[in-house]
């Protein structure tokens, strides 16, 4: 069940990033996290409710986040901080939406919260759960990012 839930998010992340930001992420080996903390420089998070409850986060390194914004906005970057925040929020929203649509086609109906973006070098976010957290690492030519899931 857990694996079945994770797959559409991965597919959505790859789809969204390659269409919107022209970045082709390579999927690494998924693992179970030692702790409940997501670490990165810029993170987008959504809460998921429905058949099961949980949260999903996508944490980007600075380099990767900036590359995404540059690819999305070209030379029109005004304020890099605001643009990064907007872009990551938007991407998280799209990934969450597309993944949930994919799950709905399998008869699994979920609602997603509006995304929250957290910025700050090396910040951490805690998933409030007792269940193991699955992390899927991605690499791109501009840095890495990680998607994390936990479902009760």
């Amino acid at each position: 069940m857990d694996v079945e839930l994770a797959k559409p998010f991965i597919k959505a992340a790859i789809d969204v990033l390659s269409t919107m930001a022209f970045i082709k992420p390579e999927v690494g080996k998924p693992y179970i996290k030692k702790n409940t903390v997501a670490a990165g420089d810029v993170s987008g998070m959504v809460g998921i409710t429905g058949d099961r409850n949980g949260s999903v986060s996508i944490s980007f390194t600075k380099g990767c986040a900036v590359a995404i914004v540059k690819n999305m906005l070209g030379d029109e970057i005004e304020d890099i901080m605001t643009d990064v925040k907007d872009a990551v929020g938007e991407l998280t929203n799209m990934i969450s939406g597309q993944a949930r649509a994919g799950l709905a086609e399998r008869g699994l109906v979920f609602q997603g919260s509006t995304p929250t973006v957290v910025m700050g070098d090396g910040h951490t976010i805690s998933h409030m759960t007792k269940a193991p957290i699955m992390a899927i690492p991605f690499t791109t030519s501009d840095g890495s990012f990680t998607i994390e899931f936990c479902f009760e």
């Binding site: 079945e4 797959k7 693992y31 179970i32 702790n35 086609e105 008869g107």
Partner: protein, 527 residues
């Protein structure tokens, strides 16, 4: 009936109404035209999406058509049929799905088929799950492990064992793969003696995450795991005994307590760390035999162990226990001092309440309370005395000191309640304001919130975030490069001390220790 004739030329709103109606009526006559709409989409995202929904609805009552569609040349329709078969658990589709899976090499499509087969949960699909147990794609592999566990496929047990064994090899143990997680969960679903025995044996897995997953799995299995845990307790080393006792405590089954008491009587808990774990477990379970054993534990002299005993008894206060406690506490000797101190430090409110009105015992407890420097402890007992009321309580309330919050702060992290109580008592004795955490993550949160500490005390093994990781994170936090960190370890963890020292631990204290040892160490490093 809504008709799909000339659908493409209809108004948007009409199109929506028609598709909605079909989704509701599930009229099979609409099928051919819907399939055609799927294969040649209208081009409007919302309409196309609704076509999929309507098709799903119509197909949900049409098993034959779904099975036919499993081999359709059109990718989208084929996937839709695969999903519908899974969603509605069409057992008749198993054979065809297995056949399709045999020749499917695209990982995404294979995953779709396997997911549907897992949902249908027909044993006829076992061979295909077994076949892909070593698939390169970790998600496919995990889905197969999950399905084999769900179907309780005993043939795969050996394979699962090998997977868990392999995950403990020197080149792999650092990461807990999702496949390892799934293999442990699948293994736990069998609830056979050999599978449970295997998991108990693997409680020592080198990777702390895997250890935690196995512990949780055994707690979930519950009573059936008790015998195996006893075997480990009886034949294993001190570490095995501690781990098994902890799990037995969390399982909370009566027979667990009885067995622990028996083991205790056989002299299997002579090691003080083991005894401590046994008392904590007995306190959690709380059977008559267990409580009697805890009452016997009142003669322990080690302060830490006494706190485990008192902490355990606190949850199950009864008249017999109180009469014994009254006797030993009123004795006015070293042991009564230790006990009253343990009652205060572990904040055993119920015991205090029961003994307060008893001549002799109440005075000894009040003396111990008046010696405490911990503002939180004082506050808690103050509230209790107000509750008790009466002239005596009022007099005692007046005697309670107002403790000014001290300026030096200390952080202590330990997952054992008694250890936390002990750290708290030691730190307040030394004039620190204590901040307590039950794991590394909670501890680090205090630091993230900007608290500044003069000393940090941490356990090595804790759930969620262990001591080693906490130390690493603390040392990487600006301003925390030189704050003294004391790590509390057991003898058996000595081998990991070198690693901990490299991570930034200032000093070590080996369990069991008496409070003075830790006090001296704290004074030494904060000087």
């Amino acid at each position: 009936m809504a008709t799909l004739d000339d659908f493409r030329n209809k108004e948007f709103l009409d199109q929506i109404t028609i598709l909605n109606e079909i989704s509701g009526s599930k009229n099979p006559e609409a099928l051919p035209k819907l399939v055609e709409l799927l294969k040649k989409p209208v081009g409007d995202t919302s309409i196309d999406y609704m076509v999929v929904n309507a098709l799903n609805a119509v197909l949900s009552g049409n098993e034959e058509k779904v099975i036919e569609g499993l081999t359709d040349e059109h990718d989208g329709y084929r996937i839709l049929c695969i999903r519908v078969a899974g969603e509605h658990g069409f057992k008749a589709a198993t054979g065809s799905l297995v056949k399709v899976a045999q020749t499917e090499f695209d990982p995404d499509r294979l995953m779709e088929i396997l997911t549907s087969l897992a949902r249908i949960a027909d044993t006829a699909a076992l061979p295909i799950f077994r076949k892909h147990l070593e698939h390169n794609d970790p998600f496919i592999k995990s889905a197969c492990i999950e399905a084999l566990g769900k179907l309780k496929d005993e043939t795969s047990i050996e394979h699962l064992k090998v997977m868990i064994e392999d995950s403990d090899s020197p080149e792999r143990f650092e990461v807990c793969d999702i496949t390892t997680w799934k293999a442990v969960e699948a293994m736990a679903s069998f609830s056979r003696d050999d599978t449970i025995g295997f998991l108990v044996e693997k409680l020592h897995h080198t990777n702390p995450t895997v250890r935690r997953i196995i512990t949780d799995a055994l707690i979930t299995i519950g009573a059936p795991s008790i015998n195996m845990l006893f075997n480990a307790f009886e034949s294993g080393d001190a570490d095995s005994k501690i781990l098994s006792a902890n799990i037995l405590g969390f399982v909370g089954d009566r027979s667990g307590a009885d067995g622990l008491v028996a083991a205790f009587d056989k002299g299997l808990a002579d090691d003080s760390n083991v005894r401590y774990a046994v008392y904590e477990a007995l306190g959690r379970i709380g059977t008559m035999k267990g409580i009697i054993c805890l009452v016997d534990g009142l003669s322990e002299t080690d302060e830490l162990i006494l706190m485990a005993v008192i902490g355990g008894l606190e949850k199950h206060v009864n008249p017999g226990m109180i009469s014994t406690l009254t006797k030993v506490i009123s004795n006015d000797d070293d042991q009564s001092d230790r006990l009253s101190k343990a009652v205060v430090s572990s904040r055993a409110i119920n015991i205090f309440d029961a003994l307060y009105e008893v001549d002799g015992a109440g005075d000894v407890l009040m003396d111990a309370l008046l010696q405490s420097n911990d503002p939180e402890v004082i506050e808690q007992f103050r509230a209790l005395l107000i509750d008790i009321g009466g002239s005596r309580a009022e007099e005692d309330l007046d005697r309670l000191p107002e403790i000014a919050t001290s300026l030096s702060k200390a952080l202590a992290a330990d997952d054992s309640r008694s250890m936390c109580a002990m750290h708290r008592a030691i730190l307040t004795d030394l004039g620190f304001k204590p901040f307590m955490a039950t794991n590394g993550e909670e501890a680090y949160e205090f630091i993230e919130q900007g608290e500044e500490f003069d000393v940090i005390i941490t356990d090595m093994n804790m759930p969620v975030m262990d001591g080693m990781e906490l130390v690493g994170k603390v040392r990487n936090t600006p301003g925390y490069e030189d704050v003294p960190i004391i790590m509390v370890t057991t003898e058996s963890e000595a081998s990991q001390q070198e690693m901990a020292r490299k991570a930034g631990v200032t000093a070590f204290v080996t369990k069991p220790f008496n409070p003075d040892t830790l006090k001296a160490k704290i004074e030494e490093v904060t000087r």
